[in-house]
Symmetry: C2
Subunit: 144 residues, 2 copies
Amino acid sequence: MGKIMKVEITAEGYSPTKTVVKARNFEMVIDEPPMLGGKDEGANPVEYLLGALSGCLNVMAHFIAKEMGIELGKLDIKIEGELDLAGLMGKEDVRPGFKWIKVKMKPESNASKEELKKLIEEVEKRCPVSDNLRNETPVEIELE
Amino acid sequence: MGKIMKVEITAEGYSPTKTVVKARNFEMVIDEPPMLGGKDEGANPVEYLLGALSGCLNVMAHFIAKEMGIELGKLDIKIEGELDLAGLMGKEDVRPGFKWIKVKMKPESNASKEELKKLIEEVEKRCPVSDNLRNETPVEIELE
């Protein structure tokens, strides 16, 4: 058994598109651009999702590099994904979420390409956010 | 065929735990608390993940309520998840991500409990972030 970590956030939907999230002492402002009915007061939910993935990959890359004895400096990450809005509009045979997510990582490091490839493989396996996206995760919604 | 939406972010890992994300004109600062080696300059990646889910659920709830002719005011959302740190530490048989995610939604509405239940069911089906968590999503990482 490892160390169990409970994570909790609360959020208030102030308008049909704007959500203010509290996580411990931090706040996130989420909104939609005007073309999706919002006022563009923050990044939108799917941008936050890709942002979460980038943060997790950065932490895990540095953590595992240290384990492997690889020196790793600044890490540039670019992530893109594509979704078909027909899914969220209700079309049955189209998935509403990202169909795929592609990540490019550009590490500042003296390590060999082989070592860096091994690092990335290990990061892919052990990154929590990547795991939750790649594999099925039960999400239960309850009405209060 | 629906409307294809491409979503892109860039991120810079400035330190082993701090990541600064750019999504269009928005910035997210992600860090870890001291117990996970960070300086606590922002919410951590898994908190951002739950935040993204709350934002998506809020937008979809209001969007579908409108479709159904249900009046929906402020929406309070609470999300929790649990993960076992042994997974990211490298223990093979423990998944690194959330084992489960639980959402509580408290809507301000005059609609009947039946209508609200139907609303939630539809939101579960059509929320992009929820879909990406519940179901498998290919994530490809490339080294530049």
